[in-house]
């Protein structure tokens, strides 16, 4: 009876189910296998969605990747290199004392909204930044301004540094003069930072009244930063749409661009947070390129005909010793012992991408100021044990922080690196207590000096030694927790010296000093990889991770 019945209605149901499955699961026959159609959008996956359409408000690398295609800065880095070259300014000069910077602007540069670029427009941007108030003055919303130009016309909080920016004048139509209060080696590099992308006068007018509302830590950014249509720059691409829902930014070729037109009609930047998912999306043909390729994926991708150009090395990974967080670390012998304990060569050999090398100092060897004569610390566990015993720290216990679920250009697989170091330290008798934080929490925790040992690194913003060692050792820094007034003074002096040769020599000397006092252990410099589909002519890859996608095109 029941068990032997015919199956008509059921068969129907089953058929419906099967149809649904087929409809959803069957192969896409029309799937593109190439991109020969020039109008096909080029899709690039980044690790996160952009934060704002106005790059001034952020310090986020993903946002800068977008903004470099849309906005241009006065100065730029050469394609594929780290030398500073003209951007919107064809030529530039500095005054003797280094406080007056004159920029001779390019002729015939148009903004996306039709405005023309002139010195007034440039100064309007600087004046706007200088005069910002309210929520804009939070370091969250003007990080780079504050680190390069100091504070604002009217600082609203004591925490904000004094302004270094004095004025911007336009003596001629295409000549802009920017005055700062004293020379610093952050210039001219600072003018190349993506945060200082020049927007059109019409844009500035439209956003003049836009305010950042909300409280510290809970800001609501104004609409122009969230919805395409208001902001206009001079770059090779215009921003067409920011689809929050899909975490995608659509860029269109700007046909009136002053330079060579972009190779793609449309370019889409899309967020895929997981590095494995990015690789799979590239392999599945959903995207045509992505950044931060895991070292382990480089070979398989290359074998499968994907292009994985390697960038030049311009970064440093280090293990910091926070001397206030653990007394033992204030003892130089302990710091040195730990340095001898870590097999950095193994990290370079097995975890970092090919082309990486052990770092001898807090400074990549590709940058002027690197010294061949710094004190080196060879891997020698026996020596490390002896030194620890000498220092009376045979039973040393150290908290060791590392970030989870993040890949940085200088640090692929933080956990693996941590594991190797931790096991090396354990081998010389140090007890390691692992502590993890999510990336966004890791930065404040390590910055405020809560971690005795931690992994961190730095990718250069521009070509000057100060951008590396000056970042850490120009004064007391809670990241390292030590005071060495001689070192700090020497650093300031070097940075303020407008003479290039003298300055480089001073930096070399500083690097040697730093490695003597050993505030941390430089681990490696390694080239971060970027991947592209076989049918793409990739752009020149930049050691500063500042690729100009206008150079890329379909094969």
């Amino acid at each position: 009876m029941f068990a032997k019945s015919s199956r008509k209605p059921l068969a129907l149901l089953a058929a419906a189910a099967a149809l649904t499955l087929v409809a959803t699961a069957c192969a896409e026959s029309t799937r593109d296998d190439g991109g020969s159609d020039a109008s096909e959008p080029f899709v690039f996956a980044s690790a996160g969605d952009i934060k704002t359409l106005d790059p001034f408000l952020t310090s986020d690398g993903e946002t800068f990747r977008y903004s470099r295609q849309v906005f241009e800065t006065l100065l730029e880095h050469e394609s594929g290199g780290s030398e500073i070259v003209g951007g919107l300014a064809e030529e530039w000069e500095q005054s003797e004392d280094g406080t007056e910077w004159t920029f001779h602007l390019r002729e015939g540069v148009l903004f996306h909204d039709g405005d023309e670029l002139d010195a007034e427009a440039v100064c309007a941007n600087f004046e706007r930044w200088y005069n910002l108030s309210g929520g804009y003055q939070s370091s969250n919303n003007s990080y780079y301004w504050q680190s390069i130009f100091g504070g604002f016309a009217e600082n609203e909080s004591e925490d904000i540094p004094e302004p270094k920016f004095v004025s911007c004048e336009a003596p001629e139509e295409l000549t802009a003069v920017i005055t700062i209060d004293e020379y610093s080696s952050v210039f001219p590099g600072g003018f190349s930072l993506a945060a200082f992308g020049i927007m059109s006068p019409s844009t500035l007018e439209a956003v003049a009244d836009a305010e950042i509302s909300g409280e510290e830590g809970n800001y609501t950014l104004p609409e122009y930063t969230q919805k395409a249509g208001t902001v206009a720059g001079t770059g090779p691409f215009t921003v067409q749409e920011w689809d929050h829902d899909q975490a995608a930014v659509t860029l269109e070729r700007f046909d009136d661009y002053w330079g060579d037109p972009a190779g793609f009609e449309t370019m889409i930047l899309r967020a895929i947070p997981d590095e494995t998912a990015r690789r799979q999306a590239l392999e599945a043909g959903d995207i045509h390129g992505y950044d931060l390729v895991a070292p382990a994926d480089v070979d398989p991708l290359t074998e499968a005909d994907f292009q994985v150009p390697t960038r030049d090395v311009f970064n440093i990974l280090y293990m910091a010793y926070q001397q206030e967080a653990n007394e033992a670390l204030a003892d130089l012998e302990v710091r040195q012992a730990l340095a001898h304990a870590v097999d950095r060569q193994r990290i370079v050999d097995t975890i970092l991408p090919e082309g990486g090398e052990v770092a001898t100092q807090f400074h990549p060897d590709t940058l002027d100021g690197w010294s061949p004569d710094v004190k080196t610390y060879e891997y020698d566990p026996e020596l490390a044990k002896e030194m620890l015993a000498d220092a009376g720290q045979e039973d040393l216990t150290l908290e060791f922080c590392y970030p989870t679920d993040v890949t940085r250009p200088y640090m692929p697989a933080p956990r693996d690196i941590f594991d190797v170091i931790a096991s090396d330290l354990e081998a010389v008798g140090v007890t390691v207590e692992p502590v993890t934080y999510e990336w966004t929490e890791y930065i404040p925790k390590t910055n405020s000096g809560e971690c005795p040992l931690y992994l961190l690194g730095w990718t250069g913003d521009y070509n000057d030694a100060y951008n590396f060692i000056g970042t850490w050792f120009s004064g007391y820094n809670s990241e390292f927790g030590f005071r060495d007034e001689d070192l700090f003074a020497a650093m300031e002096e070097a940075s303020g010296n407008p003479n290039d040769e003298e300055r480089v020599a001073a930096y070399q000397d500083l690097n040697e000093q730093i490695m003597d006092i050993l505030p941390g252990l430089p681990i490696s410099s390694s080239p971060p990889s970027i991947a592209f589909a076989p049918n793409v002519n990739p752009p020149n890859v930049s050691p500063l991770t500042q690729e100009n996608f206008a150079e890329a095109s379909w094969k």
Binding site: M1, F2, A3, K4
Partner: protein, 369 residues
């Protein structure tokens, strides 16, 4: 039993559960009886004796797997006769509801809780009589009216949980009689009902039998129901008929100790005050395989070693114990048969057995322990 051919002749019906050797259970073991037009045949016994399985086997409602059905059940159907046990499923579906119908014990669980009563009545009309729409609805209302449900139109729209117990059983009966079946099986139709309702339902069944000439197989453990309704009675124990007879001789002269015991379990008004009931001890589970002897022996006060020598045969009452030959006879010759080597003898049945029991109990320590 004068009529020529019976409407349904069941011969040596056996049902075995389990199949794969391990725990084979013989639920029904060689049961034979006949159903005739306008007569009520009773199957009596405790729960678990195989009554319900017999009815389900006849209806073809036993599960397919793990069940073996043997014997035959030849029924008069339009255009000849058919063995119900050998018909195809499809053919049985055609017969069920139209030629034979069944009424179940628990009217609440036997009605689909989420389908209105009306739908449950009209679906059978539609299936067997091809009636639809308003015609079916009208007929359904008439059926409900006929089984004594007031305000049938309203009831048709209601769900089973909105009806009282008696009403539900009436609705089930309405469904059973919807196509005027020739054979009707009622499986404990009154057990779940109040006493007053019981009587009404029995009355209703009785009327249907007399009016329609339906043959009714009444399955019950209630001897009161049997006495009031049945013409022929089969007493079943552990899957076999232990005694069968027309109503009068059975009640007057029960011979099998089990029948005697059943009768003795009923309180009687005419019994002397203070006299104890004489229940059968133990339960239906305390039995042995028929193949080893009389299954009732463990509970029987009269058993002897002879009872354990092997299966007793069904013999006519009065035949000497152990004499072969009466087995399986269903004809008119043996109106009163039993399956016992040590039958209870004598005329005044129930009263007689009474004094015997205490003695037996006294002797046998296990009886009440």
């Amino acid at each position: 039993m004068s009529s020529s051919t019976p409407l349904l002749a069941v011969d040596e019906l056996s049902v075995v559960f389990g199949g794969h050797g391990s725990d084979e259970v013989r639920a029904v073991d060689g049961v034979s009886f006949t159903l005739e037009e306008g007569r009520v045949t009773g199957l009596v016994g405790e729960s678990g004796c195989g009554k319900s399985v017999t009815s389900l086997a006849l209806m073809g409602l036993l599960p397919d797997r793990g069940v073996r059905v043997g014997g035959s059940a030849v029924m008069q159907v339009p255009g000849g006769t058919a063995d119900l046990l050998k018909l195809s499923q499809r053919r049985m579906r055609d017969l069920r509801g139209s030629q034979m119908a069944m009424i179940f014990q628990d009217p609440l669980s036997s009605l689909n809780p989420v389908v209105p009563i009306g739908r449950q009545v009209t679906e059978i009309l539609r299936r067997h009589r091809g009636m639809r729409g308003s015609a079916a609805a009208k007929e359904a209302a008439e059926l409900l009216d006929r089984v004594g449900i007031p305000d049938p139109e309203r009831r048709l729209r209601e769900y089973p949980h909105q009806l009282s117990g008696g009403m539900r059983q009436r609705a089930l009966i309405a469904m059973a009689v919807a196509c005027r079946p020739r054979v009707m099986i009622a499986d404990e139709p009154t057990t779940a009902l109040d006493v007053t309702i019981q009587a009404q339902i029995l009355e209703l069944l009785k009327n249907l039998v007399t009016e329609e000439g339906t043959a009714l197989l009444m399955i019950t453990h209630d001897l009161g129901v049997v006495a009031g309704l049945c013409d022929d009675i089969n007493v079943l124990y552990a899957g076999r008929a232990v005694e069968k007879a027309p109503r009068a001789p059975l009640f007057a002269q029960p011979t099998h100790p089990y029948t005697v015991g059943l009768l003795g379990s009923i309180p009687r008004l005419d019994a002397p005050r203070g006299e104890p009931l004489t229940p059968i001890r133990g339960s239906i589970n305390d039995n042995i395989a028929w193949t080893r002897g009389c299954a009732f022996a463990p509970r029987c006060d009269h058993y002897t070693m002879e009872c354990l020598q092997g299966p007793p045969d069904l013999v006519a009452v009065g035949a000497a114990a152990g004499v072969e030959g009466g087995g399986g006879s269903t004809g008119a010759a043996a109106e009163h048969v039993h399956r016992c080597v040590n039958p209870v003898r004598g005329a005044d049945t129930a009263d007689r057995s009474a004094p015997e029991s205490p003695a037996a109990v006294g002797e046998d320590e296990e009886a009440q322990g």
